[in-house]
């Protein structure tokens, strides 16, 4: 307690040296001197005169004190006094103080972390000027935040609600800045991107709309500040230098300011490139295809235009597009979304999840307050003698309450400070966390003053909240009775506020435990659900041949050579190729039509199917089961008739049944007739939570793609395969950038959301459990200590262990049972919300129900163990002698 002591002395010194105090002393002394002067004049010696003067003055100390009290508003002095006294009292019961501060630290820390995430992802707008008026245009039909480039141009021309519109796309390219080519992440952005967003360059200049002169006409890149710092060491001479982008020369125009990290919160790009260069950057260009929707479109709403007006305006454009381009845009509509989280696609679930998490964190704080409230009430009861004595000595009730509140707020502020410190550490770590290996995810949650303010506010509010619990007790305290009887009297049989608090707290904890169990269960299930492939043991080599300058026929030749080289490696049992693996970062869907359809309007489609291009051997290597027909072979090339393997869901949706699909024909939008060669099992393609989706697999020779993922299976450890794979590919083409990971690790991406959800809910559940333990422990320990004498007498009179326990803890257990039941019921209601985010989170899972009951029971037993032991060991002789 050395620290507390030193604080105490320092505060005391401050208090004593107050100038007002010194001045008052001087005035009183002056009075005594004047009186002594008079007395001396009447013939007394000076010493005798001063003595008499002091006597006549009366109780010097008392009047000094009264004068001081009368002399003004002593808020701060009294506060200091209260704090001093409070510190002394808290230091006297370190166990209580530590438990209370820790409880609050956990609760406030949890709230600070969750609020920080809410603040970073939802409350704080994008870091661009005038972010409030920024809106994103989404498809009205399916809420996809994606538009095609021709549609974007029409929207930009024809809308009357936006100042201007920008289009951008997240993509990856091979960037060679002088050493080796490495995959880098970027935005392809329309030329007006920086101008519309109102961003000023940190160095050099940005590209503008005037730089766009058709395909591949603007070989410029703008670096992000972070990439410039890490790859160019902050060299100002980098501007103007030429670098190789997918082996094309590009000039570095400038560097973006450090605070601007693009128009998506979760993604920090390495650089920006004009959208017109798409062919060079991506290896192909969809800029001319109206059906190719892969661009996000945002813009500032014009001043005075409401979102509703803008939506109406956009939909009149949609009506025009539908009429002018019925093939692609039939039945089109638009809506607005908040930019920053890929519109409502990510934003919706993220916002819902964070709101839910915030509510749970709030519950934690509430439970902590209930916990501390009952602790403080119990302490006030224990201190009833002290309080009664102070009342009897003339202290006002107001003063005593102030003192108690000061103590409560002190505890809460200490807890808040500790919690905030912990959360800052955690948030710093979260901000630099790279949860997904293949994609530069950024979690923008570094705490700012909003977070600090909220934490302090929560600490103060909770201090007042639990400080208020013992108020009634103090107001009703009758000093005379207490001093006479020695305690506040017998423990009442009826339920008190404290009981209610405990039951509430246990209910809240049960809610938290239930939610976290549901989430954990959901994750376990999602890990064991059928993906439609077997990721275990498979290694992925991810590359894009266009990053090394391959195009046309050379792509397929290189892919075949790479596959052959990999297959020949020792230990490799099979290898296959797919353009982008399912459950990865990107996906492609395409509309398909029944063979009988002749008018290829989108509204006539039979299905919207995931589209993959694969090599022979892919299904075997990926572990996808063939249900019927055949897999693809190298003979399914450009000269052979078009074929595809489809999944069972595709067969059901387009042909009505799995059996009926084999050998049947369907059409793509361009009219190509495809025959179904085989049917494979269903799988997961975009997210684990998706409904069963149709998918089709084309032979890569018939539908070429430079995007290449090699799937390799071997009888060796995946780690041992990395070096041979690198060597083999390097031998084929030293300039080809690629990444090697295991498929299991790659799946982190798909599981990311539910993992985050599970971890957060799990942590909150553990917190809830801990609060339940401390709450029950406090209550049980208190009720045992209050009734120890009675228990001793019972034991002396021959009560059995069971009866003693029943008397000591029966009430605690009844409250517990009631609270747990209520909490479980509430928790089951709450998990309905969870099932939106957590995969297969079923609230009616018997295992969850059983688990919750078991956990609450264990927690209760754990918490009640020590008090129960104490009750059983009550020695009647000792107890009776003490009184």
């Amino acid at each position: 307690m050395k620290v507390l002591d030193s604080i105490r002395y320092r505060i005391a010194a401050l208090f004593q040296r107050s100038p007002r105090n010194a001045e008052m002393e001087e005035e009183l002394r002056s009075h005594v001197q004047h009186r002594a002067d008079d007395l001396e004049r009447s013939g007394l010696s000076r010493a005798e005169a001063e003595r008499r003067a002091r006597v006549e003055f009366g109780g010097y100390e008392r009047y000094r004190q009264e004068s001081y009290e009368a002399g003004g508003n002593h808020f701060f002095e009294r506060l200091l006094q209260d704090v001093r006294f409070g510190l002394r009292v808290l230091a006297k019961s370190p166990g209580f103080t530590v438990v209370a501060v820790l409880t609050l630290a956990l609760a406030i820390g949890a709230n600070a972390v969750v609020f920080s995430m809410l603040n970073g992802l939802v409350l704080r707008p994008l870091n661009v000027p005038g972010a409030k008026s920024l809106a994103m245009i989404e498809q009205g039909r399916d809420g996809a935040p994606m538009q095609s480039y021709p549609d974007y141009l029409d929207l930009r021309e024809r809308n009357r609600s936006f100042d201007d519109l920008v289009a951008y796309q997240i993509t990856r390219a091979g960037l060679n800045t002088g050493r080796d080519a490495a995959p880098a992440w970027l935005y392809e952005a329309s030329g007006n991107y920086f101008d519309v967003l109102g961003i000023q360059p940190y160095l050099g200049r940005f590209f503008h709309a005037s730089d766009e002169h058709g395909a591949n006409s603007a070989p410029y890149i703008v670096l992000s500040y972070a990439y410039w710092s890490s790859h160019f060491g902050g060299d100002r001479g980098a501007v103007g230098r030429t670098v190789q982008l997918n082996k094309h020369p590009y000039t570095i125009l400038g560097v973006a300011p450090p605070e601007f990290r693009g128009t998506e919160l979760f993604y920090a790009p390495d650089f920006w490139v004009p959208l017109v260069d798409q062919e060079q950057v991506d290896g192909w260009s969809g800029l001319k295809s109206r059906g190719n929707r892969d661009m996000e479109v945002v813009g500032h709403l014009k001043a005075g235009v409401s979102p509703a007006q803008a939506t109406a305006d956009l939909n009149s454009v949609a009506a025009y597009l539908g009429k002018a381009y019925p093939k692609e845009d039939d039945g089109m509509s638009f809506k607005l979304a908040r930019p920053g989280l890929a519109g409502d696609m990510l934003g919706g679930p993220v916002r819902a999840f964070l709101a839910g998490l915030m509510a749970l964190a709030g519950l934690i704080l509430l439970a902590a307050c209930a916990n501390l409230g009952s602790l403080f009430a119990a302490r006030a009861a224990d201190r009833s003698r002290e309080i009664a004595l102070r009342l009897a000595l003339g202290s006002s009730r107001k003063r005593i309450l102030r003192q108690l509140f000061t103590e409560a707020v002190m505890v809460s502020l200490m807890g808040g400070a500790a919690g905030l410190a912990g959360s800052v550490v955690l948030l710093r770590w979260l901000s630099v966390w790279q949860p997904v290996s293949s994609f530069p995810v950024r979690v923008p949650v570094s705490p700012d003053w909003h977070v600090y303010a909220v934490a302090v506010l929560l600490a103060l509010v909770s201090g007042l909240l639990f400080g208020v619990v013992p108020v009634r007790q103090v107001l009703r305290a009758n000093p005379y009775e207490v001093v006479k009887a020695g305690s506040t009297g017998v423990a009442g049989r009826r339920f008190t506020v404290r009981d209610l608090l405990l039951a509430t707290q246990i209910a809240i904890c049960a809610v938290l435990v239930t939610s976290s169990l549901v989430a954990v269960r959901g994750l376990v299930r999602s890990l064991h659900s059928n993906f439609g492939f077997a990721p275990q043991g498979a290694v992925l080599v991810d590359t894009d041949l266009d990053m090394a300058g391959y195009s046309g026929d050379r792509v397929a030749i290189m892919q075949r050579r790479a596959l052959d080289a990999v297959t020949e490696l020792p230990g490799v049992t099979s290898a296959g190729l797919i353009d982008r693996q399912p459950l990865g970062m990107g996906w492609n869907t395409n509309v398909v039509f029944k063979d009988s359809v002749t008018d290829m309007k989108v509204s006539n489609k039979a299905a919207d199917a995931y589209q993959y291009r694969i090599s022979p051997g892919y299904f075997h290597t990926a572990g996808t089961t063939l249900l019927m027909g055949r897999t693809l072979t190298w003979h399914d090339d450009g000269k052979a008739p078009h074929v595809a393997v489809v999944n069972a869901e595709f067969a059901r949706e387009v042909f009505g049944s799995v059996a009926g699909a084999l050998g049947g024909y369907y059409k793509l939008q361009d009219g190509t007739r495809i025959q179904v060669a085989g049917i494979v099992e269903n799988g997961k393609y975009q997210t684990l939570t998706e409904d069963q989706q149709p998918a089709m697999f084309f032979p890569i020779l018939q539908m070429p793609s430079s995007s290449t993922t090699l799937v390799v299976r071997s009888n060796r450890e995946p780690q041992q395969l990395v070096t041979p794979l690198q060597d083999a590919l390097y031998k084929l083409d030293a300039g080809l950038p690629f990444t090697i990971t295991t498929w299991t690790k790659e799946l982190d991406t798909a599981l990311f959301a539910s993992r985050v959800a599970t971890v957060s809910l799990g942590v909150l559940g553990v917190l809830g459990g801990m609060l339940a333990v401390t709450g029950i422990f406090g209550m049980a320990a208190y009720s045992v200590s209050r009734r120890l004498r009675e228990l001793g007498i019972r034991i002396a009179l021959g009560a059995q262990r069971r009866e003693v326990l029943g008397a000591a803890l029966g009430r605690a257990f009844r409250l517990l049972a009631f609270g747990s039941a209520a909490g479980l019921a509430l928790g089951l209601l709450a998990t309905r919300l969870l099932s939106l985010i957590v995969y297969q989170a079923s609230p009616r899972d018997p295992l969850v129900l059983f688990g919750v009951v078991l956990i609450m029971l264990l927690l209760d037993l754990l918490a009640a163990w020590i008090p129960a032991q104490r009750a059983l060991k009550a020695d009647p002789l000792m107890l009776l002698r003490e009184e």
Binding site: E26, H34, R64, A70
Partner: protein
């Protein structure tokens, strides 16, 4: 000094205001002045003066400043503020009414009822 009466609660403030209204005084001077104008009929413990003085300053009825006394000592001098003068008038009226009422009540004889 003759027989002294206990001072009535609440009247000390009035006496201080009156004493100070006759000219600025330090604390001990206030006491002497009260003794003088009441012909030493009231018993006031010396220290009791100070809580009252501080209270009146806080209420804005008196203002205080440091100066040098006739004994050549540093002392704090009090004088009335405008609010203090107004309060003195009010309290004086109130006291006079109360005193008259009490006096007439105490003078009542059985035949007058």
């Amino acid at each position: 000094m003759g027989e002294q009466a206990q001072i009535l609660p609440g009247t000390l403030d009035l006496l201080i205001l009156k004493a100070v209204s006759l000219g600025p005084l330090h604390g001990y001077g206030v006491l002497l002045r009260i003794a003088q104008i009441t012909a030493s009929a009231l018993m006031i413990e010396q220290g009791a003066l100070y809580p009252a003085l501080f209270r009146l300053v806080r209420q804005g009825l008196l203002k205080a400043s440091w100066g040098t006394s006739e004994n050549n000592r540093r002392a704090k001098f009090y004088e009335l503020t405008v609010a203090g003068r107004r309060r003195l008038h009010e309290e004086t009226d109130g006291w006079n009414r109360l005193a008259a009422a009490i006096a007439s009540a105490l003078a009542a004889r059985p035949e007058e009822i």
